[in-house]
Symmetry: C2
DNA sequence: GTCATGTTGATACCCTGTATCAATTTTGTC
DNA sequence: GACAAAATTGATACAGGGTATCAACATGAC
């Protein structure tokens, strides 16, 4: 505690879960915590050439398991990671630049819980992702490099039909 | 119309979108429409040894684009496809057997629309997946082969905090 | 038929990630 | 500090899912 000036949040979480705070892990965490936006695993790999690819992936997985980061999918399925700042939350992801924000919505959670009565089986988890174009990307459609993170598929248009189960 | 006794839904959708109803496509559609549960692409590949892998993937992509099938992710990220029976919907997926069901929930959609006021940027799509253990799997935890489709990460436990944005 | 266009399938390739396993670090314990 | 046990690393190979290429082939319009 004293010989190491600052021990970051992520480091504390790892320690609290019984993992060792090795140098590679500290370097990875250092990079992650500086990230303002979502990132890919390979991005981290190339930012830390001294650390093996396997170690990067292993550490990302560890950090997911202890809840320090989230792994989410773009509309096209491409995976993306993002530091986790609060316990239970969901994400908005900019389909242009990959910016990830977290949000909490108790109403939504409450509604899902209510829905569990109408769903066969027991709910063991859920995922809610909102795909957006962020304010920055709305304005300058040029300055940032577009990541083409959008996709076809489930970019649902909204409608207002009644809640209804539709079978398998 | 007359020379072909039955023209399935999926075939009609493809035709309506200007694609050709080739033999490979018809065979693939035949297999897909018989599926009662979710399926993987490779599953289709091995069920149709006469058809090239690329064609299978291309056709699956096509069918996604015209809205005939959905591609979703298990909790662990593994992709899974499922025939789409209604326009806008979301999914419940059994984490044990991969059974996919669709559901509509207008309240949910309405709530998301309301939420869009609190979210920076414009929402261009959303994804809502409920991970469940289906009734069948609840009972016989043995008879079906477990697919290990669960995962760590975002299997959110529920909580009831107030709706609140949490920054990037 | 003939030509333009759409499709196919074999192949090679890319991306994301994991299994292996010997070499190295870290952590305790003396 | 020395030492042994346990955790971790990194090189490599591999797996899974999917796409780019491109020559051969089918389709449809004329
Ligand atoms: Zn953006
Ligand atoms: Zn939630
Ligand atoms: Zn099941
Ligand atoms: Zn919806």
């Amino acid at each position: 505690m004293t010989e190491q000036a600052v021990r970051s949040n992520f480091m504390a979480i790892l320690e609290d879960n019984g993992y060792r705070l090795t140098l590679p892990r500290r370097e990875i965490i250092g990079v992650l915590e500086a990230k303002q936006e979502g990132f890919t695993a390979e991005e981290i790999v190339s930012e830390l050439p001294g650390i093996g690819r396997a170690t990067i992936y292993r550490t990302l997985k560890l950090l997911q398991e202890v809840g320090a980061i989230c792994r989410l999918n773009m509309l096209n399925g491409a995976p993306r990671y993002s530091p986790s700042r609060v316990e239970h939350h969901h994400h908005t992801v900019c389909v242009r630049c990959g910016l990830v924000s977290e949000f909490r919505a108790a109403t939504l959670e409450r509604f899902l819980r209510a829905l569990s009565g109408e769903i066969p089986g027991v709910i063991v988890g859920h995922r809610i992702d909102l795909y957006v174009t962020c304010p920055t990307c709305l304005q300058d459609e040029q300055s940032r490099p577009a990541l083409h993170l959008h996709g076809h598929g489930h970019a649902h248009a909204h409608d207002d039909s009644l809640a209804e189960l539709v079978g398998s």
